[in-house]
């Protein structure tokens, strides 16, 4: 039962990643691409935690935390740059 739920969740997440990546490639302005990057970061964090549960390795949760912090700082820096304050 748990395996089936995990497969369904992974399928949903991959479709979401596909649409976000499509917007990341197509996006008309830089702000659209940054929004897509933010969404991709959060989905990838959830994916890393799910991966740590599947492969039963505790250390991947730390990797998800570091990835989230770096993505957050990156989005903030890009936003400040778009604003013209950097």
């Amino acid at each position: 039962m748990l395996n089936i739920i995990i497969y369904i969740t992974l399928g949903f997440m991959f479709v979401g990643i596909f649409f976000s990546a499509l917007r990341f490639v197509l996006g008309p302005t830089a702000a659209d691409r940054t929004v897509a990057l933010d969404t991709l970061t959060t989905i990838a964090m959830a994916l890393l935690v799910l991966l740590s549960f599947i492969s039963n390795r505790f250390i991947y949760i730390d990797i998800a935390l570091v990835y989230g912090v770096l993505g957050f700082i990156g989005v903030l820096v890009i936003a400040r740059y778009l604003e013209g304050a950097l």
């Binding site: 748990l2 739920i5 969740t9 479709v15 649409f19 929004v35 933010d38 935690v49 949760i61 778009l82």
Partner: protein, 126 residues
């Protein structure tokens, strides 16, 4: 006890997967940058939080660390969305409103502030 936690975790995981999918779909289908921000940030916050919390519930030894991740997402995602919306507004990408630009009440404040700043600058140089 463990079985109940596992069932709650499975339900949360499914809900989180659906919300992550909806976030991706919204970011692809929405017509405007602000709408994309709305769909892409809020749905993804709920989805990511529930998937991470579900792993913490199924594997109770990891609960504290997943709680740290959930709190981090709850703190960081609104801040980045706010910064992005502000940056997009300051680049003069105004939102499309059906009633016309006079319904955008922040725009008046924004332009008044800008005029005041320019006046102060001119006075300083003069």
């Amino acid at each position: 006890m463990n079985d109940i936690l596992t069932i709650i975790g499975m339900v949360l995981m499914l809900i989180g997967g659906i919300f992550l999918f909806l976030g991706g779909l919204g970011i692809f289908r929405m017509p405007d940058t602000y709408n994309r921000l709305q769909a892409g940030t809020k749905a993804t916050t709920l989805g990511g939080m529930s998937v991470i919390l579900s792993v913490g519930l199924i594997e109770p030894g990891w609960f504290v660390k997943t709680l740290v991740l959930v709190i981090f997402i709850a703190l960081s995602n609104p801040i980045s969305s706010h910064a992005l919306a502000r940056a997009n507004y300051r680049r003069k990408n105004y939102p499309f409103l059906k009633g016309g630009p006079e319904y955008d009440q922040y725009r008046q404040v924004f332009e008044d502030k800008k005029e005041k700043k320019e006046q102060v600058k001119e006075e300083e140089t003069a």
